[in-house]
């Protein structure tokens, strides 16, 4: 147990370092540049970085990747410890592990996003959320952090897939929430006509908006899949696929909220500002579904 907890600790510090580096990256000096015409970013965003920013950005990425590897190691070590203990390995079997897994998924998503779109400014927000998830996990009391054997109701193969799929969708929504915050900041800066170099590393509003939408479009079907897997499990374990237990109801509520979002985007005026506010709201609902329900409402899903 001590071994995995040590690795989780290391992950926490690495993510903190990565977050600090990404923030430093935003503040680093950039050569002034002509504004690219809206909607047509000139090449990669990295082209805008000065020497300092470029270096900071590289280190930040490196530390993030390293942190993610550490996170992976921590989870596999935990899986191994679980296996030795109780014969099941799912390293997302209690609140602490679930949160570590969510931060793992958020960071993985971020690294893929950075690799694909080459926008480092997002790191300060999304790695930030991953770090907060990890940090909140490590603040849980010790007895929540250890790998107690699963109670009989949870001891099943379904936990591997149902929980991991659902948690991954939460990570996608977290990403969208981070992008929403970023959108609002950038928008405010533009409205005020701020020429602070801080915002210059940000992609243009349209790109932020579009990426947020994409994140939700990944999370939305995944959450549906997760909920359905939960229903299949319930059908297998509890004698009915849907029992309106608080956790499953809340995940349905979250899903409906995002359902409204994707349909709203087809009507005029639901892009940009409103979509950003809505994505943040949706993420808050996810947090409630993930945390609030476990601690405030009772039901079959209360892990601890």
């Amino acid at each position: 147990m001590a071994r995995s907890l040590f690795l989780f600790d290391m992950t926490f510090w690495l993510y903190l370092a990565a977050l600090g580096l990404y923030i430093a990256y935003l503040f680093a000096r950039r050569p002034t540049m002509e504004l690219a015409p809206a909607g047509h970013p000139s090449g990669g965003y990295e082209d805008r970085d000065g020497a300092w920013a470029a270096q900071l950005g590289q280190v930040a990425t490196l530390v993030t990747v390293f942190g993610w590897i550490m996170n992976t190691l921590a989870l596999t070590t935990r899986a191994y410890e679980r296996m030795e203990h109780s014969g099941t390995f799912a390293p997302w079997s209690n609140q602490f592990e679930a949160m570590s897994y969510v931060s793992w998924a958020i960071i993985l998503g971020y690294v893929l996003l950075e690799y694909r779109y080459r926008i480092k400014a997002i790191g300060a927000f999304v790695v930030g959320i991953g770090f907060i998830a990890m940090g909140a996990a490590s603040l849980l009391p010790y007895r929540y952090q250890t790998a107690e054997p699963l109670v009989p109701a949870l001891n099943s193969y379904w936990i591997y897939i149902h929980v991991s799929v659902t948690l991954t969708s939460y990570a996608a929504f977290a990403m969208a929430g981070g992008l929403g915050i970023m959108y609002l900041l950038k928008e405010r800066a533009e409205r005020k006509g701020s020429r602070s170099r801080f915002y210059e590393a940000f992609p243009d509003l349209e790109t932020i908006d579009e990426l947020g939408y994409k994140a939700i479009m990944i999370g939305f079907p995944m959450l549906a899949f997760g909920i359905i897997l939960g229903a299949m499990w319930a059908n297998y374990a509890w004698g009915g696929y849907w029992s309106w237990d608080p956790k499953e109801t809340w995940s349905l509520i979250v899903w409906l909220i995002y359902g409204a979002y994707i349909h709203a985007r087809m009507t005029r005026g639901w892009e940009g500002h409103r979509a950003a506010v809505y994505a943040i709201f949706g993420f808050l609902m996810v947090i409630f579904c993930f945390w609030g329900v476990n601690f405030l409402l009772s039901g079959l899903h209360a892990y601890a």
Binding site: A153, L211, I228, A237, G239, Y241, T249, I253
Partner: protein, 471 residues
């Protein structure tokens, strides 16, 4: 939306007529509107929270204690104690089904048409008006350019149509219509799932059975018998419970056909009926063994301790006694009108056994003796006093017994939902139009493209395509 043709809600106001035609069009318009869909999504989400905050299906006392009598009356009136089965909640779900079906009815035909054939001829301003558009000068001939572009689009997985008229060539290329089909599959799935749910609640059942080891129970709805062979609990090393297990045997026409040990996550399924390990506990009307002290009334000394088995007559060695334990109740209560003893709860709050005592073949008595109140009754004329000092409860296993004929329909709907949503998330529909017009040297290519989402990806792809055409 930047899509020049269709897809967005075109809620244009029409002159309202009185004819059936106008009326039905208005109705379709209303039920196919995205605004209604958004309203329903949010309304269902908001009302669903009620049932997670207020406990559902509890006894009145529970609510009155927590919220007061006045609030409880309102809860009943509004249906807050069983939100998910109220008429208004069900109506919202029904409306969502109607909404998505109407949406399918109204919009799918267009998707279907564009799967088979699409508008090739467009005007030059149409292309120029698209969000992604560009103008390229290419030095090769019109035919060569057209051939090259067709090849390029086809290589990228586009379906390509070309048309030549009056000196200009128009090319149309499209890809990713499956994303659209996926969305509509998701729309149909909602109704399929709801139908499956209805089927289950109309023709299925869910029961709870308390079963004792060694007993056989008839399952009338399956027309077979079920014997509970054994119930036991496995523990982890640290003492926490690992699993609850019951071994069940199905008996048909007097012969055992299936035997299976079920655990919490592993039910027995027979003839569409599912048997789940659901709970366990101590039976309230039966025990295995009772330990009884026999006292001599005159000396008040225990002269013998006997362990009585359930409904077995036992001769007490050395004493002129034969004792049988005939009944047990976990929580003693007496119904004075029917003159019957019963257990008023399943808790072992006031356990008592009834003995049939045969003394010297003369005194015959059937006293109740109480675990908590040893002196409550005595057997008249008997030399002895009997005391219940302990017992070994009989375990029951709680089985959830369920049949749900709608379940497969629900799974079909679920599959449609997940597949449809995944298709619509990862495949996006895009269309390109190009006009190749002869110029002074070579040709001018006007290329325009549109997608209903994934703008940045499309922008990248568009840029790559133009680079290729120019090369």
């Amino acid at each position: 939306m930047n899509n020049p043709d269709t897809l967005t809600d075109q809620e244009t106001s029409r002159p309202s007529g009185l004819g059936w035609e106008e009326f039905s069009r208005e109705v379709v318009e209303f039920f196919a509107s995205i605004k209604l869909a958004m309203f329903l999504f949010i309304a269902i989400a908001m009302t669903a929270t009620i049932g997670t905050v207020i406990q559902q299906g509890e006894r009145p006392e529970v609510y009155i204690k927590e919220y007061g009598e006045e609030a409880y009356r309102w809860f009943v009136r509004l249906g807050f104690i069983d939100v998910y089965h109220t008429w208004w909640f069900t109506s919202l779900l029904g409306l969502l089904c109607i909404n998505s079906l109407t949406c399918f009815y109204k919009r799918f035909p267009a998707v279907w048409r564009s799967m088979r054939q699409d508008k090739v001829s467009v005007t030059l301003p149409f292309i120029k008006g698209m969000k992604q558009h560009t103008e390229l000068s290419v030095s090769s001939s019109q035919e060569q350019t057209a051939a090259q572009m067709v090849r390029l689009f086809a290589e990228k997985g586009y379906r390509v149509l070309a048309k030549k008229d009056a000196g200009e060539v128009t090319i149309y290329a499209t890809k990713g219509i499956m994303g659209r089909v996926g969305a509509h599959m998701a729309h149909l799935s909602a109704t399929v799932i709801v139908l499956g749910g209805l089927l289950g609640s109309s023709y299925g059942f869910q029961e709870f059975g308390v079963c004792l080891e060694g007993q056989t129970y008839h399952i009338p709805r399956g027309n077979f018998d079920l014997r509970v062979d054994k119930f036991w609990i496995d523990y982890h090393e640290n003492g926490s419970v690992k699993s609850y297990n019951s071994t069940l045997t199905v008996i048909e026409d007097g012969a055992s056909t299936v035997t299976k040990t079920i655990t919490v996550n592993d039910p027995l399924v027979h003839k569409g009926i599912w048997f789940y390990q659901s709970s366990y506990g101590d039976a309230w009307d039966q025990i295995e063994v009772a330990r009884v002290n026999i006292k001599d009334k005159s000396t008040d000394k225990v002269v013998k301790t006997v362990d009585l088995e359930w409904k077995k007559e036992q001769t007490v060695e050395g004493l002129p006694l034969k004792i049988t334990m005939t009944d047990f109740v976990a929580d003693f209560a007496f119904n004075s009108t029917e003159k019957k003893v019963f257990s008023k709860s399943a808790e072992h709050a006031n356990p008592a056994v009834r003995l049939a005592v045969d003394e010297h073949n003369s005194v015959q008595a059937t006293p109740w003796i109480f675990y908590h109140y040893p002196d409550l009754f005595e057997v008249k004329d008997s030399t002895y006093q009997f005391e219940l000092v302990g017992y070994q409860p009989k375990k029951f296993t709680g089985l959830q017994i369920a049949k749900n004929p709608g379940i497969n329909v629900v799974w079909i709907g679920s599959t449609m939902l997940v597949v449809g949503m995944t298709l619509s998330s990862f495949i996006y529909h895009r269309r390109l139009w190009a006009k190749i017009i002869p110029a002074d040297t070579g040709v001018t290519v006007h290329l325009g493209g549109t997608t209903h989402k994934s703008q940045i990806d499309f922008q990248k792809e568009f840029k790559k395509l133009t680079d290729k055409i120019q090369a």
